[in-house]
Symmetry: D2
Subunit: 352 residues, 4 copies
């Protein structure tokens, strides 16, 4: 069995990335993900890895592109404003068909906002904050253990489909301490010869990595190939968790990440009062579990989406439910987190 | 009456901005919006305006923030990758409640893509490519005249609601020449004392412009105020055009910008064959004319969305139609533009 | 007559530059020249001038090159470390044969040093801190009035010989207040068509400004032309002041700038004790008044160089005196300024 | 014995640095030193070293400062304009008392100049192109073997006196191939605990490396300490070579680097004609072998300085000779190198 330790989410995801073979990490500091970059600064030299604090977020993401093109496991991390600065680079990595992992430990926004936990970068994460026809697989952890487990998973998805993958945490998950267990071994990196530039290989080898295709027909073909890959990802990689689904609940709760933790406690609390609620927690935000949400919503009187934002994922819930029943929204801006009593009371309002 | 001239879209929107009193413009060059920056470089000095080619797109958008904070009409422009680099700044401007105009003459993407016309930045434009809970009003022109007219309109909306406003053109619209008429006068700038920093005013004056609110309850209140403004914008500023709506069409076409030009020609062509199609063209992409699309879709057998992308606005169409009838999609990636025959044939497939 | 006001040296040189027609100023802040940049920030907009705080000193000096190439009077200023960052740009301006004025309000060095007055950038100023075969005329003021008068003079020299010109002040001169008188009018700018890029002129006009000459014979010829200009400058522009030269002094003091003020007071103090000292104050540090110093040194028993440094100008004094008599040095590092008593006592040591 | 190979000077100095234990190298590309950076890019990863192409020369030199502060052997290299950009950083390293090696493979200047060999950065190298009271030991190689040997020597001097050391090559030396022999072992790095920041050492350890000393008396004391070190360097490290000094030559040639190669061939050629010339080649340009040059000049009719520039070292020669006999100059700008016949003929003119 692996080691079990008490760690912050920011540290756990960093440690897991290193255990999974990540030896290249480029970033620029920002709270509330500071423990992640600090952990990398301390640990990377000890494993002969490269830790480089770039001159800016823009530089960091382009270094990620460069390292990915060389065939190594590479990661960057930041928090909301820093992730905005990386959007051009993420679009380039997606178009270049390169594997890389980006961690967003979201802070409150818009603007400088604050360092409280929020889920208001959902749109940016799931609908290409960058330009052009592309998507990024997005993983949303709701415990420190899951945050850690998503590092190797993100590398696997990235390498299987040649795409950047985002882990979308938040400040609460990044800063809270929970026991986390690391396995003795993670699956190794895929042979990078499929995508990496290489000097000592056959003449057929890829020697140019590019995202510029002046001829529209070539770009069209590249884009269609990309979207075929997206179909594969939709077929294989959709993840979600259900809770209290077998009850005869008349209402369905949809929530992800930290909001799902709060929602689960509300499901438990209301169950004790005799009110049954089913809950579905999307783990992949893109691809979104539309079918699972639609299935879970079947026959329900109402679907309630809970987010730590003014309402973003609720659009995906509506697209899934597609008019089958009303979709309502409970949210909070500014990084104010629901107390257990508050969320119970807000849900009770919606269902009475 | 005003002057009427033959101009490229890129030049027309620049000229209209200057006529509307814009005297500050900061940008970094990129095709296919080069004529816009070049026009500004030539004309701004002649009207005692400030043209500044910034050291990067990131710098340019922050200069826009600074100039907006000083109370002047200010604009920037770029094309897709450059707009990605501006996402952090746009979020800051939105959070700081400052008026500014951003023109995106979209190119093909993702990545470096190409300089052909595409509509694949729709998600980025309408769902906050930047981080945090905010929206940006987005105007989508489909003629050079409309492109020009949107410059003063964008300033008016920006100043009325204290928000950045985006004009989302594309490379075709930017580069094509059409006759354009400029009015003798545009409405003047709103008194900037409501939002601008000022040295010579009353003690109550705003002397700090900020987007950092460490206290979650303060950020929550600021965000709720912002979303009240968004409700006002939704009430007052939704714009769209309908075409052949009074016919007994069984099918509804939804398309915006350049795609709507192509779609209209298809409506005309099919009408001659006896096939009636209704068309609705959203002019504001955010706020989206959900009610108008829903209304137009009523009783239709099918709604067909046409985009120069792999499908982005189609999500808004689905949210509007909400299961009332099937929503189908016709699109093209890579900057390949539909020929008139091709679009007619693709529509015919969908409705047969 | 012109206006007479009490001003800091930093402000006086800025005001004089504006009165002399300078309308373009690019810089990055650093003490102890902050009042200069602040003065420009406040005044340039009032005279329709361009004040631009660049993103770095490197950017500022390259903007100076660009503005000079367009034919306008342009200035930058900084203090020691910032001037080091400008060395590449100064070499480019010299090689491009463009007129520009650079003010160095020296601070203590090396490294970050401190903001006390020093003269330890003498070598950098007079022997091309930048790379390559070139010199920069250097003016050393010793009063606030002279600091102000040197702004128009620097522009005149710059335009007459097509060269960057440096005014080498120090923190004491920059920060001290003295009455300064500005004339009603300064000589106007020379017609810039001789050197400036221009769009509306004859086909013979210069349309390329360059410092790259791949062919060694071309670079050789350009350099020889440059050095012919330097011969002209040496012939026409050497400036210095003598003091108590007609006395039968056996000792010669050489000092410039702030050190010369201190030295003069020592000459006066020692005269009262019956000790005669002659003094020569170089005003141009390059070209250096070698002949005048040699002439003044003739028949003296000793030449004493006084500097606020560990000894830099003393090399030029030795080159001038060329073994005729001993050359001694009195100096102080770190920005510690001699008190009147101290300098008198140090001189007395040397001559007894 | 060590290996003997045919190599370019740029490669030889890089290889020797690596053999001497340099494992950190930061630079930005520029001809004619490209082979040096390319060699480092290829070899550093093979020895677990860090090769980092910085975002600019300014960044590179500051990375050198940071690495030096951590106690490792670190090097940067560039060519003239790039070295100008590093002047601020070199002054900081000197003031921070840190060991580092800077290689300047000079190109023709000023400005962009060309990539031909020149010696016109002599002033910059020997008289602190950067600001403030400091010097940098400067080594001038005249063969590829010497270029290579100077890498370990530069590290030794740097570490012995805690100072940056410059190796001043030129494009000819960098690009020409000569046989070079590397010893089996170089002297190891000095224990860095004297100067390096360290986390695991005694409380007395140095934990702050700084060059800011706001109190003038502190900066004065630091500077005086620095100049005591310079006195030590002058006592121990002056290097030069003499040639044909035992003859009864009436003329003394002074030349360094590539110019000394040309000068030696002229000495040989004229010897065959019966004309004796003595030659002294300074190997350290700072500290300059003033005494040796003065001694060599004794009794000579004339001293002739030969440089690939418009005349820079000639000032040091004059300072050394101090009026004992005439000092004349033979030089060439633009990167034009003397042919053997030409230099013989130019010397003959001076001595007839």
């Amino acid at each position: 069995m692996g080691k079990k330790v008490l760690m912050k989410g920011n540290e756990a995801v960093a440690e897991a990335a290193i255990l999974a073979g990540c030896r290249h990490y480029f970033a620029y500091p920002i709270t509330p993900q500071s423990e992640l970059i600090e952990y990398m600064a301390k640990k990377m030299p000890l494993v002969d890895g490269t830790f480089l604090q770039a001159e800016s977020e823009v530089a960091a993401i382009n270094m990620v592109l460069g390292a990915a093109a060389c065939g190594v496991r590479v990661m960057t991390s930041s928090s909301s404003p820093g992730i905005s600065l990386k959007q051009e680079g993420i679009s380039y990595i997606a178009a270049s068909r390169l594997p890389a992992v980006i961690v967003n430990v979201t802070r409150g926004g818009p603007g400088l906002g604050n360092i409280a936990p929020m889920q208001c970068d959902y749109f940016q994460a799931t609908r290409g904050g960058g330009h052009g026809d592309y998507y990024t697989p997005v993983l949303s952890p709701s415990t420190v253990q899951e945050f850690a487990d998503m590092a190797p998973l993100a590398f696997e998805i990235a390498e299987k489909y040649l795409t950047p993958v985002m882990i979308l945490g938040d400040g609460m998950l990044g800063q809270m301490m929970e026991p986390v267990e690391f396995p003795d071994a993670y699956p190794p990196q895929k042979d990078p010869s499929e995508w990496a530039l290489g000097a000592r290989r056959t003449p057929d080898d890829r020697h140019i990595i590019n995202s510029l295709y002046i001829d529209p027909y070539v770009l069209q073909e590249k884009t269609e190939t990309l979207f075929k890959v997206y179909e594969e990802i939709k077929k294989n990689e959709i993840r979600y968790e259900t809770y209290n689904m077998d009850s005869d609940a008349k209402y369905l709760i949809v929530a992800h990440g930290t909001a799902a933790r709060v929602a689960k406690s509300a499901v438990d609390a209301l169950k004790e009062e005799g009110v049954e609620l089913a809950l579905i927690r999307p783990i992949t935000l893109w691809p979104y579990p539309y079918d699972a949400v639609a299935e879970a919503a079947k026959g329900k009187e109402k679907v309630i989406t809970i987010e730590l934002s003014m309402g973003q994922m609720v659009e995906d819930v509506k697209l899934a439910v597609c008019g089958e029943c009303p979709v309502e929204f409970i949210g909070k801006a500014g990084g104010v987190v629901f107390t257990p009593e508050e969320i119970v009371s807000l849900i009770r309002e919606k269902i009475s």
